[in-house]
């Protein structure tokens, strides 16, 4: 049986960067999955990402992305789209390392057969802010993209009879703060 990982990537304390973990919590609350599916909020794993891809046959990542489009725009990336541009010299070794992590997994021969990354354009990345309205409104589309991929993989997933409230415990923090750093005193 295929092992499937659905992982959200991003910092939940930095506004739209938290779209991935947010989507994971919505999926957990509203859907039932086949036993071979694991959902994970991986935060910002940097080069630790390969640790979580071990033994995984298919991975679906949800992450904020710079797409040059409007906030809430969604684009799907496959393995080759990510590997197309190689990683380069870093000075801060822990800076965003998705491409490098995927390249490392490829090198070690442990690459999952299927890799989909759902990239969502964010608009606000201020500390303490919650998801912006356009990104929040697009969450159902992110969920649809995950479900379509599971369908293609032949993996079962369906809405819960009694869906719960998503456990986005960080959500709404700093609402009073707004987007002006000087107001954060």
């Amino acid at each position: 049986m295929k092992k499937v990982l659905i992982a959200g990537i991003g910092n939940v304390l930095l506004g739209d960067d938290g779209v991935g973990p947010f989507a994971i919590k919505v999926l957990e609350a509203e859907y039932d999955f086949q036993d071979n599916v694991e959902l994970a909020d991986l935060g910002t794993p940097g080069l630790d990402l390969p640790l979580y891809l071990n033994g995984v046959d298919a991975v679906i990542l949800v992450d904020s992305a710079e797409l040059g489009g409007e906030a809430g725009a969604i684009r799907l990336f496959r393995k080759q789209d990510i590997l197309r541009i190689p990683p380069r010299t870093r000075i801060d070794p822990h800076s965003p390392a998705l491409r490098e992590s995927i390249s490392l997994v490829e090198l070690t021969g442990a690459m999952p057969d299927e890799l989909l990354m759902i990239g969502v354009q964010g608009s606000c990345f201020d500390p303490g802010s919650t998801l912006s309205r356009p990104v929040r409104q697009r969450i159902p589309h992110v969920i649809d993209a995950v479900r379509r991929e599971l369908y293609t993989l032949g993996v079962w997933c369906e809405p819960k009879v009694n869906s719960g409230v998503p456990d986005t415990w960080w959500d709404g923090i700093g609402n009073a703060v707004g987007t002006d750093p000087s107001a954060l005193i």
Binding site: V12, P86, T89, D92, P96, L107
Partner: protein, 565 residues
């Protein structure tokens, strides 16, 4: 002739580290370290319940989640003068040890090895010669000619494909690279193997912490692990046995691959024991407490000034009275208002001016200890321990220095660890010490539980009046401290003084540079367009600015670029 180099990450979120250096006659004459992302993440904690602060604090950084979680609960416990049960100390310690082992292995193999290993030399290596070299260095079971041949084939396939992938943009063929093809192959093979051992170390964190990343088992007053040797779903003898067998799988990699690799490579680059010292001020806090009141520690702490090991000042506790008093954060040259303030009075009021090399130029404040810049990290940890005659530190340091001296065919003394290569060596020494301590703390926990003590938590009580606390942790990158002010059970101030803030700090009101800036002085630069030597020194500190965003950029703009001006 003076040239100016700027190494600048150009992620969409203005973030991370920028290094500016002036090079005169092939040596760095001036340097500036600048963090280009505003970091005011602590402000989201104000007004919150101190008991849940750690849940938010562990999201400050994606890579070192557990270290912030721990410093946070320790800060609140310090404010309440709340002791925690011995089991809670041991469980926390086991988590810290395995997080650190994992982190140090990642640093050497994935974050910095390719500054020293020339991957493009690997196809020329002889796998049989590599195996006999490797077997002369250690008894690691995975040093066979077949292992080396298989790793070499991977590199050959990548080279033949023309798509270098992860190896694109390395400084291959740089004049400062001079390992033999066989040593390059040896280290690269262990680079491929390292992932497996990091994963096992991380598994131990997950068993005790509930999950990774973001452990779930901490609580102000102890840990939330229930211990019952007979009941499923708690910390049972079975789980303790499982942890012990994972430890037995992880630590041979440290003893027989990581430690010997670092000693061999360090011995082949002896000139790097004379580069990158900086101001030689070192700060480390004691960690791995072995009793409830945290009065005894397995890792020592203290302060060394101007490289004088004989005059080391020892810290007796994690939050020594001197440490409480002496720490300030100076905003003179950072994009904040105000001068030097103690963290309990700390403010985070932005005042952005653009990069002004004679004015303000970074989002990182300048932490100072009694007004002096301090280097933090494994090198500080090792030097303060060695200077105090700490037996475990001496054991592994002396062994490392012996091995390095043999390879280098010259005497490398402990004083020469005050250098770029000394930081790499110190991290490997610390890992070997932690491997010893992993076994020790697993036994402490098991024996304590077998003796009938199953307590893991002392409940906190919050007074109405204002209280202050500091929680420290000697994290993989060095001294971390969280400073809290609590009033009426709510957080009234919260400041995290993180290791990279100490090391990447800018100049202060006296004009004294921070450790990165000082250590870059007199660094050689053979080719300003390919400043490999500067990266070696900066990477030796294991910088982490990752209290940051992780936005993926399909055009690959999430990278550093080098500009010679």
């Amino acid at each position: 002739m003076t040239s100016r180099i700027k190494i600048d990450p150009i992620s969409r979120i203005e973030g991370h580290l920028r290094i500016d250096a002036e090079v005169d006659g092939g040596l760095v004459s001036k340097a500036w370290a600048s963090c280009t992302m505003w970091r005011g993440i602590e402000t989201i904690l104000l007004g919150r319940d101190p008991r849940e602060a750690w849940l938010f604090a562990q999201r400050f950084c994606g890579v070192c989640t557990t270290v912030h979680a721990l410093a946070s609960v320790r800060a609140v416990e310090d404010a309440l003068k709340l002791q925690i049960p011995p089991n809670a100390q041991y469980i926390r310690n086991l988590i810290l040890i395995h997080h650190a082992l994992h982190d140090h292995i990642v640093h050497f193999y994935y974050l910095s090895a390719l500054d020293w290993i020339d991957v493009m030399q690997i196809p020329k290596a002889d796998p049989v010669k590599t195996a006999s070299l490797a077997q002369s260095l250690s008894s690691w079971t995975r040093n066979s000619p077949q292992e080396f041949k298989s790793a070499q084939d991977k590199v050959k396939a990548v080279a033949a494909s023309g798509q270098l992938g992860i190896f694109t943009n390395g400084y291959w063929g740089h004049p400062a690279m001079h390992l033999s093809p066989e040593v390059n192959l040896l280290a690269f093979t262990h680079y491929l193997q390292a992932l497996e051992f990091q994963r096992k170390s991380n598994q131990i964190v997950a068993i005790l912490g509930g999950k990774t990343p973001h452990i779930q088992n901490l609580t102000v007053g102890g840990v939330a692990n229930a211990i019952d040797l007979d009941s499923l779903g708690t910390l049972t003898m079975d789980r303790l046995t499982m942890i012990r067998s994972l430890i037995d799988e992880v630590i041979p990699f440290v003893y027989e691959a990581y430690f010997p690799d670092v000693c061999a490579i360090a011995g082949m680059y002896p000139e790097w024991f004379g580069i990158g010292a900086g101001d030689r001020n070192y700060l480390a806090v004691p960690d791995l407490p072995t009793d409830s009141s945290a009065s005894r520690f397995d890792l020592p702490g203290g302060v060394i000034s101007a490289g004088d090991l004989a005059a080391v000042k020892k810290f007796d506790t994690g939050a020594d009275p001197d440490f409480r008093r002496a720490v300030t954060e100076d905003s003179t040259r950072a994009w904040y208002k105000g001068g030097a303030l103690h963290p309990w009075q700390g403010k985070t009021q932005p005042e952005y001016t653009d990069f002004q090399e004679n004015g303000k130029y970074t989002w990182v404040k300048a932490p100072r200890y009694s007004g002096r810049p301090m280097e933090v990290g494994p090198l500080s940890n090792i030097l303060v321990g060695y200077a105090q005659g700490h037996p475990l530190t001496r054991k592994w340091t002396d062994l490392a220095l012996d091995r390095i001296s043999t390879v280098a065919k010259q005497k490398i003394t402990v004083d020469r660890l005050q250098s770029t290569m000394g930081r790499y060596t110190a991290r490997a020494i610390r890992s070997a010490m932690l491997a010893d301590l992993a076994v020790g703390h697993c036994e402490l926990l098991t024996n304590n539980v077998l003796g009938g003590d199953v307590a893991t938590h002392n409940p906190p009580q919050f007074p109405k009046e204002e209280i202050q606390g500091v929680g420290t942790h000697e994290a993989p990158r060095g001294t971390l401290s969280h400073w809290v002010v609590i009033k009426d059970g709510k957080l009234a101030n919260y400041q995290a003084v993180v290791p990279t803030t100490w090391n990447a700090s800018p100049r202060d009101s006296q004009g004294n540079p921070g450790p990165y800036e000082a250590s870059l002085l007199r660094n050689p630069v053979a080719d300003p367009a390919r400043p490999l030597e500067l990266l070696r020194t900066i990477h030796s500190f294991d910088p982490c600015m990752a209290c940051a965003c992780h936005t993926f950029d399909p055009e690959g703009r999430e990278i550093a670029r080098v500009k010679v001006l």
